[in-house]
């Protein structure tokens, strides 16, 4: 059985285009919900051994401290997460004792499981750093692909493979980011530095996948470059498709185990990886290779004119 991936490419283009469009629209309309480490601010996670107070009770207990807006979220069964502006250590202790005074009664013990307070300057710096990281990673990967495919020049020059791989990569990253924009808008899921880490990992993985497919094209071209270019590419995709899918399946399986059984604090991270690696595998099969075929056709048409 042979998959006619190149022949049917307009369907895949359409599908990818639609996803891409939705992602871009969502990013324009809703943007991303930045996490604490980017915006700065404080987050406090408290555990109540017995009855947990109501949201409004907590807010009124903290009202005298003039913290500005305090967001109170119940979490798990006995936890409460408080979010407010960045505070000094003194204020932190005041907040803690205000809550303990009010609610640590009738044998309820209150434990502070986690406290982060991040100055707004630090957040801005982290954001800048993340952009730098993405930029450098993209450049490094373009350079690397150019290097890896330097020996392939017929009929398509090596840098065009590189650009196609990067286009497929951009497709993956935009769609994953778009998904988190939608998740952020409807379910309040935030984008933090772990998300950036996930994007970079997906970057590495997606290119990794694309390289395996292109590598096969490279080998087949050097072996029997007699057939039509699109047939050679289609054969190459077919020869590697089982490997691509199986590799992703094993990675997706472990990620799924992590998502279901792993800790809460890395759930969003795992989800970004899950989705990113899925879409990365899809694009290496159904987007990257069709792109090089179309580029080749385009070149031919230009030559004829």
């Amino acid at each position: 059985m042979k998959l006619q991936i190149i022949k049917n490419r307009k369907y895949y283009y359409f599908f990818s285009g639609a996803l891409f469009l939705i992602a871009v629209l969502s990013l324009i309309a809703w943007g991303l919900k930045p996490g604490l480490d980017f915006t700065g601010g404080s987050q406090m996670e408290l555990n109540f051994s017995a009855s947990r107070p109501q949201v409004t009770e907590v807010q009124s207990a903290l009202a005298p401290l003039s913290l500005g807006q305090v967001i109170v979220q119940p979490a798990n069964n006995q936890d409460i997460i408080l979010k407010f502006k960045a505070v000094s250590e003194d204020d932190h202790q005041k907040i803690l004792s205000a809550i303990k005074d009010k609610f640590a009664v009738n044998g309820t013990a209150i434990k502070e499981n986690q406290f982060d307070s991040i100055g707004p300057v630090i957040g801005q710096e982290l954001l800048n750093k993340s952009w730098t990281m993405m930029l450098i990673a993209t450049l490094a990967i373009i350079l690397y692909i150019g290097f890896a495919f330097r020996k392939v020049s017929k009929p398509l020059s090596s840098w065009k493979y590189g650009v196609s791989a990067v286009l497929a990569l951009a497709h993956d990253l935009i769609i994953v980011t778009g998904l988190f924009s939608i998740l952020g808008h409807f379910w309040g899921i935030e984008v933090d530095s772990l998300f950036i880490t996930a994007l970079l990992t997906v970057m590495g993985f997606s290119v990794h996948d694309t390289i395996v497919v292109f590598d096969r094209t490279r080998e087949n071209l050097s072996k029997f470059y007699s057939g039509k270019y699109d047939e050679v590419v289609n054969d190459s995709v077919n020869q590697t498709v089982v490997r691509s899918i199986n590799t992703s399946v094993t990675v997706l399986l472990v990620l799924l185990a992590l998502y279901v059984l792993g800790g809460d604090s890395t759930k969003n991270f795992t989800m970004a990886l899950l989705f990113g690696i899925f879409i990365g595998t899809y694009s290496s099969i159904f987007v990257a290779s069709p792109l090089i075929v179309d580029w080749n056709n385009w070149d031919h048409r230009l030559k004829k004119k």
Binding site: G40, E45, A86, S88, E89, H92, Q93, K111, N113, Q114, F115, D116, S117, I118, G119, V121, I122, E125, L126, T132, M133, I136, A137, A140, I141, Y144, I145, A148, L194, T197, L200, T201, G204, F205, H208, D209, I211, V212, D215, E219, Q239, T240, V242, R243, N246, T247, T250, V251, L253, V254, L255, A257, L258, V260, L261, G262, G263, S265, T266, F269
Partner: protein, 607 residues
């Protein structure tokens, strides 16, 4: 013939060499697995210990060599310990867990270098880092990490305190390091007139009178806590009945400290008022825990604040001017006794630059006082009688011998060369981390099982071999994590490792798909294996390189938690390449010799 055996040993045939390689892999596996499964706080080690000591015959087997000391003649003798006697958790290295897993705090400070000349900023920042490091070490943190960085133009110091849960006192400890400054008289300072000074003194007499009255009530058997609630002016303790709990030595001002640690027994009230910079204190020692350096006390006090010039409507105009000389220039502080009077004094010895600065300072201020400030308070204001050129200064502040000693110690532990401010803190409780570790281990375990099942069901014989290789891979990676200097496990790092298990399979899959192709084209097994591997190698190399590049960038730029992820993933990828190319290949070559392996069924090849 022995010669024959020897020559076989050293010049093995092709088949013999393969056996040796497999043997070496087995040794590596056993060694690394032993490294992995030992060490303190190691769940696996505990389980193995438990399991082994429950098997009747095995647990008594004496297989562990053990040097025992013969008490009669003091010679060491080689003996054997049984499995039961060996506690795996006391051998080997522990896994190093990051802040998010074992709990702890990460503090980020801004260092204010604006007072320091540009050329000296780097050394001032490094000096501050050293001082904070010493302070943190005094907290008893096992492996504190203190790092400096420049963020744009802002110098940063980040402090990671693993296993510290009382972050509040840690922050105090770091922030309250003595800040040593030398100041000169400000000619423009507001001086109190004699009348104003008298007014202030009169007010303070009233304060003292009130304090004495309350002290009498306490002595007459009044309820200390209730009186503290009523009269104390210390807002921090007033509502608790004046109570401070778990007070360590050095936490409060010297006069207070001296009374509670040296002069009172639990339950006693100090019979006099104690005067400090804050005012008059009535002090009662409640209880004492521990002794020596770890001694802590619970103490109550009632504070009567003394009035300052601000209380009579005079804004405190800086009386003193900053100079360039600071704690940064301090080489060492020692306690000396004045040769004539025998009064203890603290002698400061400056470095070269400090000596020069001090010489200039004293030359310019002959006949005027120079103030030595500690943490913003003048502790000594000696008048300069003549220029001091020797690079030494004496602080003569009516100290007792003990006070002088403590001050010298604090100064030696480090005067902060520059002020620092806390700009961010991240704290994780211990339980949260433990739960996360446990959950991740469970997830990793099931992840491994699922992947193993998938590989065996889909690839059959090679799949089984790949799973064996995967086990070796897991053992090696975990050992590398333990042995790699400075490596710590973070939650993201565990994710990275579990992810790398999935990726480790990738190289195997690439090879097996190739192998199947080669077999389909009719090659015999051994040839197919060789060709399959060599063809798959370029793909494996090129594709993993891109992942390694992103890992490298993440490691270079990321915060410590992300560094953990990048490092685990990178180590995982490198070990996985080794495992696929060396280990799986050797396994396959070994199995290829077996007759049964000729069956195509075992490779899942459709004809």
């Amino acid at each position: 013939m022995p010669e024959n055996h020897l020559s076989k040993f050293f010049k093995p045939g092709k088949r013999g060499r393969l056996r040796w390689v497999i043997f070496a892999i087995a040794i590596i596996f056993i060694l690394t697995a032993f490294i992995d499964a030992t060490g303190v706080k190691n769940i696996v080690a505990e389980k193995i210990d438990q399991g082994l000591s429950n098997i009747p015959l095995v647990s008594d087997a004496k297989i562990f060599p053990n040097l025992t000391l013969n008490p009669l003649d003091n010679t060491k003798r080689l003996g054997w310990s049984s499995i039961k006697q060996i506690d795996l958790t006391t051998y080997g290295l522990p896994y190093r867990l990051g802040l998010d897993l074992q709990g702890g705090a990460q503090l980020t400070y801004n260092a204010d270098l604006s007072q320091i000349p540009v050329a000296d900023r780097k050394s001032a920042l490094d000096g501050t880092k050293d001082v904070i490091e010493r302070r943190v070490n005094a907290l008893g943190v096992s492996e504190p990490v203190v790092q400096t960085s420049m963020s744009g133009n802002t110098p940063r110091i980040s402090v990671e305190l693993a296993g510290v849960y009382d972050v509040n006192s840690a922050i105090k400890m770091i922030g309250e390091t003595p800040l040593l400054e030398f100041k000169t008289e400000n000619p423009a300072a507001t001086k109190l007139t004699d009348a104003q000074q008298k007014q202030l003194d009169d007010m303070n007499l009233v304060v003292r009178k009130n304090a004495v009255e309350v002290l009498d009530k306490v002595k007459a058997g009044g309820d200390f806590a209730a009186l503290a609630k009523q009269y104390s002016e210390d807002t921090g303790s007033k509502d608790n009945g004046g109570l401070y709990e778990n007070v360590k030595k050095g936490q409060f001002v010297a006069e207070f400290d001296d009374v509670i640690f040296n002069k009172l027994q639990p339950g006693q009230v100090y019979p006099d008022l104690v005067k400090t910079v804050f005012g008059y204190h009535i002090i009662k020692l409640e209880s004492v825990t521990g002794s020596g350096d770890t001694k802590t006390v619970n103490v109550r006090h009632i504070l009567f604040k003394t009035k300052t010039s601000a209380d009579i409507g005079i804004a405190p105009q800086a009386e003193w001017l900053n100079t360039k000389l600071s704690g940064k220039n301090l080489k060492k502080a020692t306690v000396e006794f004045d040769q004539t009077s025998g009064v203890p004094q603290v002698t400061l010895e400056f470095d070269n630059e400090g000596a020069q600065l001090f010489a200039d300072l004293t030359t310019a201020n002959v006949g005027k006082p120079i103030a030595i400030f500690l943490d913003g308070t003048a502790i000594s204001t000696p008048k300069v009688s003549e220029p001091i050129l020797g690079g030494k200064a004496n602080i003569n502040g009516n100290f007792s011998a003990d006070e002088a000693k403590t001050l010298a110690q604090r100064l030696n532990a480090g005067a902060l060369p520059v002020p620092v401010t806390l700009v961010s803190q991240q704290t994780v409780g211990a339980t949260l981390g433990q739960v996360a570790v446990q959950k991740s281990l469970v997830a990793g375990f099931w992840g491994l099982i699922i992947v193993a099942l998938f590989m065996i069901l889909y690839y059959r014989l090679p799949g089984v071999l790949a799973v064996c290789a995967l086990l070796v891979y897991t053992a090696i990676s975990l050992a590398v994590f333990k042995l790699f200097p400075g490596f710590t496990f973070t939650l993201a790092g565990i994710t990275g490792f579990i992810l790398s298990i999935g990726m480790a399979v990738d190289a195997n899959i690439l090879i097996f798909e190739r192998l199947k192709e080669e077999l389909r084209s009719g090659k015999e097994l051994a040839k197919a294996i060789d060709d399959g591997f060599s063809r798959a190698w370029t793909s494996i190399r090129d594709s993993n390189a891109s992942s390694l590049i992103t890992c490298f960038i993440l490691y270079w730029f990321g915060s410590s938690l992300i560094k953990g992820f990048a490092l685990t993933l990178a180590i995982g990828i490198l070990v996985s390449m080794f495992s696929a190319i060396v280990i799986t290949r050797q396994f396959l070559l070994l199995v290829a010799k077996w007759k049964i392996s000729k069956m195509k069924f075992l490779y899942h090849i459709k004809k």
